[in-house]
C-alpha cells in the first residue's frame, strides 16, 4: 500500500527519532557486506523521510502508529548456547507440533539450526537462511531488497534492520507434500525487537505448504516485524497457514507480499489471537493471467487488543480470481479492523474479486471497523464485497440452551460455527482441527475469566 510522504513539517515522535538512532548503533553488527549495507542505509533514509504512518495516511487510517508506537525496541541479543532449549520445547510453542512437518525455528529473530529440522524436504528444495544469503550477497536475496521512499515505512524498517529469515526455493515441477513450518518464538521476555524477512520462491508447477507461527513469553513487551515475500511461478501453488499467538503486550507486524504467475494459486489463512497492537497485512499481485488467490482469516480479540487486517488484491492481468473471507470476534474493549481492497487494472478483463468480512461483537465496548475498497479500471469484471457486524443471535442461543447445552458451551458452539465460515478453504482436516482447537482454547479461556 502506498505511503505518501506528507509529514515534512510534522514534529518527529520519540519512536521516529529512536529507530534511526538505534540503526546507527546496530548497523555494523547486522549481516551482509557493503552492497547490503548500502541498501539498508537507503531504507533507513527512506524511513526517516516518511516517518511512521499517522493520521491522514489512508492505508493506516485506523492504526495510527505515531500515537500507538511510543518507543523503539533494541534488537534481541542472540540467546546463544547457554540457554537450554530442545526441539520439543520449541515445537510445543507452535500450533502444529503434532503434524508431520519440517521446521525452521527462529528464536528472538535468530535462526536456530539445532532446534530446526529440514531433513524431510531438504533434498528437494534449496533452503538457506537470510543471514547466509546476505553474507554471500546472493542475488536472489538482493533483488528483493529495493526500498522506496513511498513504500510502507514498516517494510523499510524490515529492510534496514532485518537480521535473519528463511530463503526457500522450490524447483520447477517439484510438489512438496510435507509442510515447512516457520516457528517464531520470543524468548527473552524483555523489551526487544526482532525483524525477519522470509523469501520463498515456488517454481513453475511447483507446490509448497507453509505454517507460520508466532509465540512469545506471556506479557512481554516486544516488537516483531516480519515481511514474507512469496513469488509463485506459473501454475505453482503456495499455501500458508499462519497462527499469531504473540504476547498480549507485543507489537506484531506481519506482512505477506505475494506475486502470482499465470494460473498460479495462493491459499492463505491467518488466525490472529495474540498481540497488543497487530497489523496483519497481505498484498497480492495477480501478475499472470488467470491467477487465483484466496486470502482468508479470523481474529479473536479481547482486553485492549487492537488488530488491523489489511488486504490488497491487485488484479494486473485478465481472468484472475480472488476471494477474501474474514471473521472477527471482538470482546471487552478490543478493536478489530478490516481493510480490504480490490484493484482491477485496465486490461485485467474477466477478473472476479470477492470479499466478505463479518464481525461478532461480544461486548458493548468492543468495536469493529470495516473498509472495503474497489478500484476498477476494466469494464468486464465481477466484484462483490460485504461487511456485517452484530452480536450473538439470542434466538439461536436460546434454542441451544433449550436442548440442554449450558450457556458457555452454547456460545462457544455459535462462535466456532461463525469462525468456521472462514475455514472453508482449508481442506486438510488435520489443520482445520488444529485451528478449531485453538479457537476452542481461546473460548475456554474467555469463559474461565468471566465465570
Amino acid at each position: 500500500m502506498t505511503h505518501l510522504t506528507t509529514q515534512g513539517n510534522i514534529k518527529k515522535t520519540a519512536a521516529e527519532k529512536a529507530f534511526p538512532a538505534l540503526y546507527d548503533k546496530i548497523a555494523p553488527g547486522l549481516p551482509g557486506g557493503k552492497a547490503v549495507r548500502r541498501l539498508r542505509n537507503k531504507a533507513m533514509e527512506d524511513f526517516k523521510a516518511s516517518g511512521l504512518p499517522g493520521r491522514g495516511v489512508e492505508a493506516w487510517k485506523y492504526t495510527n502508529l505515531r500515537q500507538l508506537l511510543t518507543d523503539s525496541y533494541p534488537p534481541a541479543v542472540p540467546a546463544g548456547g547457554g540457554v537450554l532449549m530442545n526441539t520439543d520445547e520449541a515445537a510445543s510453542h507452535g500450533a502444529f507440533s503434532t503434524l508431520e512437518r519440517a521446521t525452521m525455528v527462529f528464536v528472538d529473530g535468530h535462526y536456530r539450526p539445532e532446534l530446526s529440522d529440514i531433513s524431510a524436504i531438504g533434498d528437494k528444495a534449496r533452503i538457506m537462511t537470510l543471514a547466509q544469503a546476505l553474507e554471500t550477497e546472493d542475488t536472489r536475496a538482493l533483488d528483493t531488497l529495493v526500498s522506496a521512499a513511498d513504500a510502507d515505512p514498516l517494510i523499510n524498517l524490515t529492510l534496514a534492520m532485518m537480521r535473519d529469515g528463511a530463503m526457500v526455493s522450490i524447483p520447477d515441477g517439484v510438489r512438496i507434500k510435507t509442510p515447512l513450518h516457520f516457528v517464531h518464538i520470543n524468548r527473552t521476555g524483555a523489551s526487544c525487537a526482532n525483524t525477519t524477512r522470509h523469501i520463498v520462491h515456488v517454481g513453475k508447477g511447483a507446490a509448497l505448504k507453509i505454517f507460520q507461527t508466532h509465540a512469545g513469553s506471556e506479557n512481554a513487551t516486544y516488537f516483531t516485524n516480519t515481511l514474507f515475500i512469496a513469488q509463485i511461478g506459473n501454475e505453482g501453488q503456495l499455501t500458508r497457514v499462519k497462527v499469531q499467538g504473540d504476547s498480549l503486550s507485543a507489537f506484531h507486524f506481519g506482512h505477506l507480499r505475494a506475486e502470482l504467475g499465470e494460473k498460479a494459486k495462493l491459499r492463505d489463512f491467518t488466525l490472529n489471537l495474540g498481540g497488543h497492537v497487530v497489523r496483519s497485512e497481505v498484498d497480492v499481485a495477480l501478475a499472470g493471467n488467470a491467477a487465483d488467490a484466496h486470502v482468508s482469516g479470523a481474529y479473536l480479540l479481547s482486553g485492549k487488543q487492537h488488530c488491523d487486517t489489511s488486504i490488497m488484491m491487485d488484479h494486473q492481468r485478465p481472468g484472475g480470481t480472488s476471494q477474501q473471507q474474514f471473521r472477527g470476534v471482538v470482546d471487552d474493549g478490543a478493536q478489530g479492523i478490516f481493510q480490504g481492497k480490490v484493484r482491477v487494472a485496465p486490461d485485467a478483463q474477466k477478473s472476479d474479486g470477492r470479499q466478505m468480512v463479518r464481525a461478532l461483537l461480544l461486548s458493548e465496548r468492543a468495536s469493529h471497523f470495516a473498509k472495503p475498497e474497489l478500484e476498477i479500471f476494466a469494464d468486464d469484471v465481477q466484484c462483490a464485497h460485504g461487511a456485517t457486524a452484530g452480536e450473538l443471535d439470542d434466538e439461536a442461543l436460546f434454542f441451544l440452551r433449550a436442548r440442554g447445552i449450558p450457556e458457555p458451551r452454547a456460545k462457544a458452539l455459535l462462535i466456532t460455527g461463525f469462525i468456521g465460515e472462514a475455514l472453508d478453504d482449508i481442506t486438510d482436516l488435520d489443520i482445520r482441527d488444529r485451528l478449531e482447537e485453538l479457537t476452542q482454547n481461546w473460548l475456554d479461556r474467555r469463559s474461565g475469566e468471566t465465570s
Partner: protein, 252 residues
Amino acid sequence: MKSLMKIENLHAEVGGKEILKGINLNIAPGQVHAIMGPNGSGKSTLSNVLAGRDDYVVTKGSVSFMGENLLEMAPEERAAAGIFLAFQYPLEIPGVATMTFLKTAINAQRKTRGEDELSTPAFMRFVREKSALLGVKDEMLKRPLNVGFSGGEKKRNEILQMALLEPAFCILDETDSGLDIDALKVVSEGVNALRDKERSMLVITHYQRLLDYIVPDFVHVLSNGRVVRSGGKDLALELEKSGYAEYGADAA
C-alpha cells in the same frame, strides 16, 4: 391424581405487557393435553415461559415440575430435567453441524444428570436408529443445523431431537404450522411413537387438524391469557365447527 407438571395462577409479561393472566393446568404422567385458542391468546407465550426464555417475565404464580420449582431453573437445567420444546420456527444455525449439535446436546444433558457421556459409536447407532424411523436422511444430518432444510424437514428434525433426548414432558408449539398433509402425518407418527404412560405432552395448536393425528386426552381453550374452557377431545371438534368467535378474538 399424580402430577407431572402443575401450573398455578401463572401470570407472565413480555416487554411490560401482560400476556398470561392466571393459567391453571395440572398434567399427570402419560397425559396429552392440547391447548387451542385464537391468535394472541398466549399459547406461544405459555410454551416459551415453560422452556425458560429470558425475555418472558413471570410476575405471579408457580410451575412445579416433578415436584421442583421449574421457574427457578435455567433453560438448560429444564432440558436436563426433562422439558422439551419443539419450536414453531426451528432456528437455522450456519457453521454448526447437525451431528455435532445432537451429540453436544445429548451429552450435556447426560452430564447434568450425572450420567456417562455416550461414546461416538454408541451415539451414531442411536441416531441412525431414530432417524430411520422419522425418515431423516444421513445427508440432512451432515448439513449445518437446519440450514437449507424445508419446513417439513425442520419439523422432522425437531421430532428427531425429541426422540433422542427422551424428555419426560414435550411441548409442541404449533408443530403443524407450515406442514402439508404428508409431512403432518410423518411428524404425528413420530410424536405418537413417543407416547407412553410416563411421558406427557402439551400440544399447542390453532387448528383442530393436528389433533386428528395426535389425539389428546384433554383440550383447553386459551383466550386472553386464561384457560376459559376445558374438556375432552370432542371439544376440539366443536371448536372446528364454531370457531373462536365466542372466545372474544379473531375467527380461526
